[in-house]
Symmetry: C2
Subunit: 394 residues, 2 copies
């Protein structure tokens, strides 16, 4: 029998792969100005420190690092990570699970909670990588509308009443893709609605430390009295995405289920990368490293915003206080997915906004990343995009 | 609403965690002689080389290693890994996917193929970690009997006819837990039966290189003409389990589905650990490293076998040509699970055999690991076990 006869699992019905991952391949050329992806700036990647710390931990503790580890995490890292997570979330008595990037955090949460057909409430638009994860667990995604201050509480409560969701997925700070931040006064109500209706909140917060203006807001988790909020943390934006280290923090019953799931998902996260991140925490490197990153990224954000002023009339865009992305709505009728090949031909890339909507549509939107391009590249790339979009109007 | 009201996914019904992982925690004491687990000997873990290679790759290529990578793998590693996988399997035109330990290989294969209720044929007994993975995908496990030369072909064909399985899971070399090896003359028939009945074979081969006597046998994959066999490779036993690097090798259609699954499972395996294993392959370190490991492990195996001669009358055990495990059947009536606490009290640990059976039972069996104990520890631990089991008879 030829392999054409193999039948794949139903969970892959309609899954064609992450649009961003496919765009990455299309634009893998050296002279491309990429506003796609969410890559940190090369200058923000601490390669010399990682080199030094890798040597430090391997020479001090190499045999333990190379041996099998516990699914629950590399013991020294668990200690430093607990303190770090409590500081970030402002919550206490957290159970913590180090994971292989916060991508795995989402996978394990879905594994723990989602049966086929279960409803997950998502922002509209939201991070497409995690939507693919939810689709692979055959969840039903129900988008909840936002305004400039994030999720609308009335709409959220209506959706909880109507759909009896298992989970709410939310990125409260500098959301991907919009750059929006959930307002302070909406944070406690989100936690309270979750407890009222028995909905697990996946609070995904990879961008928290990349704040360029304004003041940090308390996490949703900090308002969580019953344990329904699970915090998804990442070191991808403040140390390195290539090391794949993130964490889950929440109530012990949910974390325990995720730990059981992780036993047969990858057994444990590599000890070496956990040990390196542990060194960053113990030596308080992020205290200096993050302000340095933010200085650069803030200037890049402002450069891109200044270019947007001259975009075609009717263009609307967010003015994020942090994070990696600006969200743009062009005048109706412009189809950013159709125009992407024209932009790529001229060596500029972005992600069409339609991919971030659970129900598609919104063809006049796009997401721009500013962290991975220099200021001259930003001006050059934005000049080209402006022209591509102007030409599409006339 | 308190969190007691959370309902976890159905896939966790009946899942209480890997028995081995739980035993690990029970025996985490410094003076324990552990014949449980499958840990490499500390002396087999090349910490100095990993330290040097980490520095080599980070100083040469640190920015790329710290940045996001492709789900498909770190490009230099993909190149060296392809050559390595073709040499190991004796197969050509393989699609390859580096994964976060071969634990993830199994998770991705199940994600790609298994709907709830699908049948997976397994050896009887088989590796319990991967049984947990299959249970989490709600597969129905059907055990197929073996003799001393591995799976019985008639029984295998009967099971394929009767159950229309989606997959056969098999460890052909120095099987976990029995140490048995699938005879040469059964390998081509397994590949042919798979193609005849349209069954994907997951050929899990982590122990291949740990051969102490006899000659290496061709892989099942080498006899695969239609692409139904997927090879699961691991560097855990020949470099380091703590680095979590393994691979899938097979037909492009199956590997592509696994790659899509991996996008939302952990995005990609850490670039740093992939780059370090790449150095091991490029510098042909394993050519010298593996014979050194085998010399030590072969002596440890023989020490343990020599102790078994004096075990209670009626004890039967395998005499593996390689791998990490000996499988023991004690006289009927002895319950190794009941006796484990007595052994642990005397600082010796093993894994009761019942955990490795898809349908339980077989309470008089146990698995012993010899790689993680010195020869004096082996003699000391085996003296204690002999006494514990003798006392249980009288």
């Amino acid at each position: 029998m030829t392999l054409d006869h193999v039948s794949f699992a139903d969970r892959f019905d309609g899954i064609s792969g992450s649009a961003i991952r496919e765009i990455f391949k299309m634009i893998a050329k050296p002279d491309m100005i990429s506003f796609a992806g969410g890559n940190p700036s090369p200058s923000a990647l601490p390669d010399a420190l990682v080199d030094q710390f890798a040597h430090d931990v391997l020479s001090a503790n190499g045999k333990q690092i190379l041996q099998y580890g516990a699914t629950e995490g590399y013991p020294p890292f668990l200690e430093s990570l607990k303190a770090y997570a409590e500081e970030k979330t402002g919550a206490r008595n957290l159970s913590i699970l180090p994971v292989t990037g916060s991508t795995q955090a989402m996978d394990l949460l879905c594994k723990a909670l989602i049966n086929p057909g279960d409803v997950i409430l998502v922002e509209d638009p939201t991070f497409l990588g995690n939507m693919q994860c939810m689709h692979l667990y055959q969840a039903q995604l129900v988008p909840v509308p936002s305004d400039e201050n994030g999720l609308l509480l009335d709409a959220l409560e209506d959706a909880m009443k109507t759909y009896h969701p298992k989970m709410l997925y939310i990125i409260p700070n500098f959301q991907n893709p919009t750059g929006k931040t959930l307002a302070l006064e909406r944070r406690k109500p989100v936690a309270m609605l979750a407890a009222q209706y028995g909905v697990v909140v996946a609070e995904d917060d990879p961008y928290r430390d990349l704040r360029y203006t304004g003041v940090p807001l308390p996490s949703i988790k900090s308002f969580d009295e019953e344990g329904w909020v699970v915090f998804l943390g990442s070191f991808s934006k403040v140390i390195s995405p290539g090391m794949r280290v993130g964490f889950l923090a929440g109530d012990s019953s949910i974390i325990r289920k995720c730990t059981l799931g992780k036993q047969s998902t990858d057994l444990h996260t590599a000890n070496l990368t956990q040990a390196i991140v542990d060194k960053f925490l113990r030596e308080h490197i992020l205290d200096q490293h993050i302000p340095e990153i933010c200085k650069g990224y803030g200037a890049q954000l402002n450069a891109m915003l200044s270019d947007l002023v001259t975009f075609p009339e009717g263009t609307v865009y967010t003015r994020p206080e942090g994070g990696l992305f600006i969200w743009i709505e062009l005048p109706e009728g412009i189809d950013t997915k159709e125009l992407l090949p024209l932009a790529v031909e001229r060596h500029v890339a972005y992600v069409p906004g339609t991919h971030f909507y659970a129900r598609g549509g919104h063809h006049n939107t796009l997401r721009l990343n500013f962290s991975n391009s220099s200021i001259p590249q930003i001006h050059q790339g934005m000049d080209i995009l402006r022209e591509v979009f102007r030409n599409a109007i006339h």
